[in-house]
């Protein structure tokens, strides 16, 4: 187990390094415009461009430039915006992180519950009317753009119906958990549901396919021969094996959402998380902030995946030894 963890963390560090190089190359070495002008933003004076050229060592060799950027991002943490001059990037990301975390955690609970329930009900009733119905809802949920769904939700809850049925829905925004837990949940309820829809659809479909496969396995035939009830076979035998693929899927999706994939939901509901930060910096073409968000997001994803893999190995000895 110890060896596995070391191996997995080493590879995570290597992947992080590779990603940082990739991000660096995208922002500093793509052919086209002068990167200093790009970083400075639209309305930069020549002095600022010259300052950036010096600060990021743009007249020096590529590896030195890479080193300087990493220094600004992670060691000195003094990378700052040139659009809103003086705004440090790293503290902004850190203060936005709890919002994103609240959004993704709540949504994850909902999509796991709904997705697993949908998959189990569909598999238990395969061939009957309810199975294709649930699967169609799954397809529909996968096919809806999240930001559009969010807008429709806003339209329903914040427009005409806001004075009657939905008068309890607060206007968009965020209240921190420590300030007021009730308001925190109320403000996040519809963002949670919106974000969860896509993943609930995916998980229900994946789990149903896994369950139907599992029900054709030998161990299920053995369980049937022992005279166990269908319910017990489905929940205790087939589901336990099928959940493995859900767990690994969950690790990837959760990491990706924290790392920035929840951006669209945050923007639509006006939640000031990391995604919103990326979005506003996109509107201003504020490259240092975008770079910081991308780098921290990608690192978090890699870290989350490594943690999931370790947990996975803890649960399933076969992975550990492979």
């Amino acid at each position: 187990m110890g060896l596995f963890i070391i191996r997995r963390l080493t590879s995570a560090v290597l992947v992080m390094f590779a990603i940082s190089v990739l991000v660096f190359l995208i922002f500093f070495a793509t052919p086209g415009v002068d990167p200093a002008a790009r970083i400075a933003g639209r309305s930069a004076t020549p002095q600022i461009v010259a300052q950036i050229r010096h600060e990021f060592g743009l007249d020096r060799a590529l590896p030195i430039r890479y080193g300087l950027m990493m220094d600004h991002l992670f060691i000195k943490q003094d990378l700052s915006s040139y659009v809103n001059i003086g705004d440090r990037v790293v503290p902004q990301i850190i203060s936005a992180a709890p919002v994103t975390l609240s959004l993704v955690l709540g949504a994850a609970v909902i999509w796991l519950l709904v997705g697993v329930a949908g998959g189990v009900v569909a598999a238990a009733n395969r061939g009957k009317f309810i199975d294709p119905l649930i699967m169609f809802f799954g397809i529909a949920a996968i096919s809806v753009p999240a930001y559009w769904l969010g807008e429709v939700v806003n339209l329903i809850t914040q427009s005409k119906l806001h004075s009657s049925i939905f008068s309890w829905v607060p206007s968009s925004g965020f209240v921190s958990l420590s300030a007021n837990p009730g308001q925190w949940a109320l403000h996040l309820l519809f963002p949670w549901l919106t974000l969860a829809a896509l993943y609930a659809g995916i998980y229900a479909r994946v789990l149903r396919a896994e369950l139907v496969n599992a029900l054709n396995e030998d161990y299920v035939r053995t369980a049937r021969a022992k005279g166990l009830s269908e319910r017990r076979i489905l929940l205790r035998h087939a589901l336990r094996c099928s959940l493995i693929s859900i767990v690994s899927l969950f690790g990837l999706d959760f990491g990706a959402l924290i790392g920035g994939a929840a951006l669209l939901t945050e923007v639509v509901f006006g939640l000031p998380g990391v995604g919103q930060l990326t979005y506003t910096s996109l509107q201003n073409l504020d490259l240092p902030v975008i770079m910081g968000c991308v780098m921290y997001g990608a690192f978090f994803v890699v870290l989350a995946n490594a943690v999931v893999d370790v947990l996975y190995a803890f649960l399933d000895p076969r992975v550990r030894l492979a």
Binding site: D131, A140, S143, Y147, S159, V212, A261, A298
Partner: protein
């Protein structure tokens, strides 16, 4: 089959966009038309109506006329015909979805086959590249590439792609999704390589090229064909998200994502501007997903016996 029919219907309608704009509606969907008027119920009406409530400042575009020959779905805040833009937007969205899916599947096939078949250092290098792109959140990768390329365009040697070109979103989306197709393909090729008929082909002295094209590709083809409609749906959704973030399709061109973005400011007064393109995306993506499921069942009869839709 219903999926295929709906998809083809959407494609046909969108391809007819110029016919609609020129011959039925007589509008230019790309030029703003702030002073335009139309005749509605025998009266001449401004496309952008002065607000009467509150201070009476600002304007609201007219809502749907439900008359197919002019401003069927009303106008947007530039006085442009929303329905005509919807059709033109569909052309960009579908083109980007389909072209990037084709490019992505082609690249993934070449790389996946090479990695799985040749093994060794080629496999090691390609697999690591896949791992890295895989670990990178799709949206973040697409955003970084878009934001850098959209300001300046892409210059590789003598090939220059301008900043407003549709090729940029196509290439970016194709690139970020390559590992999602290439990794499963590599796995399939790895297991095919151990099969007797491949060993027999190697033993009989067939060239690598011949084995790849005649033996492995036909056996990997069903997987690629099943992936294709799903990739078109996925890429279309990604395009709309990027366009919504204003780093996808650039004005004056339109796509469903950019129209939703335009409609954001009008959400509470003229919701149809944002709702209609979203519905088009949903219908198209559902059709493609059902088509993909159908294709999977056609190649894997066991899946059908298991009763999936």
């Amino acid at each position: 089959m219903a999926g295929l029919a709906v998809f083809l219907l959407v494609v046909t309608i969108c391809l007819l966009a110029p016919v609609y704009a020129h011959d039925i509606a007589h509008v230019n969907p790309f030029a703003s038309n702030l002073q335009g008027t139309i005749v509605l119920h025998g009266k001449v009406v401004q496309l952008l109506q002065q607000n009467t409530q509150g201070l009476g400042l600002g304007v609201t575009p007219i809502g749907p006329t439900w008359n197919i020959s002019h401003y069927f779905l009303g106008a947007d805040n530039q006085g442009r015909d929303v329905f005509a833009r919807l059709l033109y937007g569909g052309r960009s969205s579908l083109l980007i979805g389909a072209a990037s899916a084709l490019i992505c599947c082609l690249a993934a096939t070449i790389l996946g086959l090479a990695a799985g078949y040749f093994g060794g250092p080629i496999d090691w290098v390609l697999s690591r590249i896949f791992d890295i792109i895989w670990a990178f959140p799709i949206y973040l990768l697409a955003i970084s590439l878009s934001v850098v390329l959209l300001t300046s365009g892409l210059q590789i040697g003598f090939i220059h792609i301008g900043p407003g070109s549709l090729m940029l979103p196509i290439l970016i989306i194709a690139a970020v999704f390559v590992p999602y197709v290439a990794r499963p393909l590599r796995g399939i090729v790895l297991s095919l390589r151990e099969r007797e008929f491949i060993q027999a082909a190697i033993g009989s002295g067939a060239s690598d090229y011949r084995i790849l094209m005649k033996e492995i590709l036909p056996n990997a083809a069903p997987t690629i064909i099943v992936f294709l409609p799903l990739m078109v749906a996925f890429n279309m959704l990604t395009e709309s998200a990027l366009s919504f973030l204003s780093i996808g399709v650039q004005p004056p061109a339109a796509s469903w994502g950019t129209i939703i973005n335009d409609g954001l400011g009008l959400l509470y007064t003229r919701p149809v501007v944002a709702i209609a393109p979203g519905l088009m995306i949903v219908v198209t993506a559902v059709a493609l997903n059902i088509l993909g499921d159908g294709a999977r069942d056609a190649f894997d009869p066991k899946a059908k016996l298991r009763g999936s839709i």
